[in-house]
């Protein structure tokens, strides 16, 4: 009888132990999953901050590397595609920028951040309406005529557009697949490079407000 009681007690104890262990495992699994979720959020936040830092770092690097570079009038082939044709003859870049003390250039690449480019086009149009005395030109690198037509239609582009093949501008490689803007004087000297980012619209506004003053 005594032996059986001990056996039953052992059995109850093992069942209780099993239940407690299961509860603890369940509890710790839940805690680990909550922690994993928090780590995931933290990782996202760190990635965001890293992205911001990378962006500023890129701006700073281009500011230091690229200043007072001259566009070579003989080497850069430019095609006027403002009017409906993809068969325009090539013209010299000097004939576009030589007419004005300063010109603001949008170097548009079809690969890359579409929303950043759209925002830039909107801001450029606003700047042009407000200050028509600073000429704005777009140098685009479309490889398909269809894509260009749609870009022009959707963006309601109303400033002159020229086709310049990718990597034909000496600083294209420094901007990889980003569209960028810069100021160029009538001697072809390019300054004030900036990569607009739709994530920081205030910075884009700040750039355009100040570039107008410089361009005068």
């Amino acid at each position: 009888m005594k032996g059986q009681k001990i056996e039953r007690l052992l059995l109850y104890l093992s069942v209780v132990l099993l239940l407690i262990t299961s509860f603890l495992i369940f509890n710790s699994t839940k805690k680990i999953s909550i922690k994993n979720e928090r780590i995931s959020y933290l990782k996202d936040s760190i990635s965001y901050i890293n992205g911001v830092n990378e962006y500023y770092h890129h701006l700073l690097k281009t500011k230091m590397k690229l200043s007072n570079l001259t566009l070579n009038d003989k080497l850069i082939k430019v095609y006027d595609i403002t009017i409906d044709t993809n068969k325009s003859a090539f013209i010299r870049i000097g004939s576009i920028i030589g007419k004005n003390r300063h010109s603001l250039i949008l170097r548009y690449t079809e690969i890359g951040c579409g929303e950043c480019s759209s925002l830039t086009v909107k801001k450029l149009k606003a700047l042009r309406n407000k200050h028509p005395d600073l000429p704005v030109y777009a140098f685009v690198d479309f490889t398909e005529y269809d894509s260009y037509l749609q870009w022009r239609k959707v963006g309601e582009i109303d400033f002159p557009v020229f086709l310049v093949k990718k990597d034909d501008l000496p600083f294209d490689k420094d901007f990889q697949n980003y569209s960028y803007v810069f100021l160029v004087n009538n001697d072809g000297v390019a300054t004030d490079f900036f990569v607009p980012n739709s994530g920081y619209p205030d910075l884009v506004d700040y750039f355009f407000e100040n570039i107008y003053k410089k361009g005068l």
């Binding site: 052992l10 059995l11 999953s33 995931s40 579409g114 037509l149 749609q150 959707v154």
Partner: protein, 417 residues
């Protein structure tokens, strides 16, 4: 000798072990619930003709221009659908909006677009029209679905509690559930608290919570980038067809389950069924870094060179229209096939492009959609492209009347039988 435990306790313990074992097995049950019930379709792509004249098979060809919508234009059409009274077009890349047009091409309204308002989307990436002619628009960034009826009125808006990421979302016929497809996305598995078991096809309940997972893959492939098709779902009768680029099967889903319905075998460049281990695994670093490292792009292109996979699937009671792509080292070649369902052995017509050389005189771009009510296959192109597709003296439109930067729909009805 007396036993440690009485017999009835022993039985209970065995029963407990058995139940736990069954529960564990159910938890780890993977693709075994996909039923194999497929018909094999052989596509001969070894010596493709450039152009195949389908004049004798064509009943009618129609052409309409989609009118421009001021401030609401689309820069590209990625998916096209036909309702009873409307066409639906989505541009998820450039303008991020979904537009509706009448059947004569007049712009009606923008159903949804990205914008700052609460009613706007954060990131419109996908659209789907189901068997009930409901339009389902997927806002990727908010895991939110907006469902419209066939008159373009909002029926419901569903926002998931967890932010799963899918490439395409569709509704599951005969139920209030949804189906989400993500190519290779380890993130989803983490959000599902099941990081070790990533899956490509998930069944979601009416609140967009995870209900069931299908098409599992090893977690080491959770970060790879592979071709995602513009659309992966097609409603057919009371089922939902699902297809993806490198998988030879077309799956059929409904409320009762999932089955492999068709298997496509190309005579040239069939993607091996173990392509993840055979093609991807030896180049895993490149497949993981294709967006970050330019040299990876070449490695991935070379790895897939020589293989063929399908890119779109349209099905009627009589025919299947299949678009396919063969990858080369630097580019790819598209071709199209028409498969007659009644006569499985000999009725597969394939060519790089189909055309009508007799009556309507034009070359057809690949068809993108099927209008089940009118029995028409649909495709779209810009006016600039249309000029190239039309042969001289085509009765459809005069060259000088074509607007280069407008979109045109080409509608083709095949003869029956």
């Amino acid at each position: 000798m007396t036993s440690i435990f009485p017999t009835h306790y022993k039985r209970s313990l065995w029963l407990l072990c058995l139940v736990l074992n069954i529960l564990y097995s159910c938890k780890n049950q993977k693709d075994t619930d996909i039923i194999d019930k497929y018909t094999t379709i052989q596509v001969n792509n070894k010596s493709l003709t450039d152009t195949l004249d389908l004049s004798k098979m064509i009943d009618s060809v129609g052409l309409i221009r989609l009118t421009d919508a001021p401030q609401k234009s689309l820069a590209k059409i990625n998916q096209l659908y036909a309702l009873s009274d409307y066409y639906i077009a989505i541009d998820p890349v450039n303008t991020k909006r979904v537009n509706a047009y009448t059947k004569s091409g007049i712009y009606v309204k923008t159903l949804l677009e990205n914008g700052p308002l609460k009613t706007d989307a954060l990131n419109v990436t996908d659209c789907y029209v189901n068997e009930k002619n409901e339009v389902i628009i997927y806002d990727y960034a908010q895991m939110k679905l907006t469902v419209y009826d066939s008159h373009l009125k909002i029926i419901k808006v569903v926002k998931g509690e967890k932010l799963f990421n899918y490439s395409h979302v569709a509704s599951l016929p005969g139920s209030d559930k949804f189906v989400g497809y993500s190519n290779f996305n380890g993130y989803n598995a983490v959000v599902q608290n099941d990081a070790k078991n990533p899956s490509s096809l998930d069944i979601l309940d009416s609140t967009l919570s995870l209900s069931k997972k299908h098409l599992f893959y090893p977690s080491k492939f959770g970060e790879i980038t592979l071709v995602t098709l513009p659309k992966s779902f097609f409603p057919f009768k009371n089922s939902l067809h699902f297809f993806r680029a490198y998988d030879p099967y077309v799956y059929s889903l409904n409320k009762d389950g999932i089955e492999r319905r068709y298997k496509i075998i190309y005579s040239n460049g069939n993607v091996p069924s173990d392509f993840l281990e055979k093609i991807v695994a030896p180049n895993l670093h490149a497949f993981n870094n294709i967006g970050r490292d330019p040299s990876s792009h070449q490695v991935v292109s070379s790895a897939f060179a020589g293989y063929t996979c399908f890119t779109n699937w349209l099905e009627t009671n009589d025919i299947i229209y299949l678009s396919s792509t063969s990858f080369t080292d630097k580019t790819f070649d598209n071709f199209n096939s028409i498969i007659y369902k009644r006569d499985k052995k000999s009725a597969v017509l394939s060519a790089k492009v189909f055309s009508d050389n007799s009556k309507f005189k034009l070359t057809f771009p690949s068809f993108n959609a099927y209008d089940k009510e009118k029995g028409e296959f649909l495709t779209y192109c810009t006016g600039n492209r249309l000029k190239k597709y039309l042969h001289p003296n085509s009765p459809l439109v005069k060259q000088e009347d074509i607007v280069d930067d407008s979109f045109y729909l080409i509608k083709v009805r095949f003869k029956r039988g």
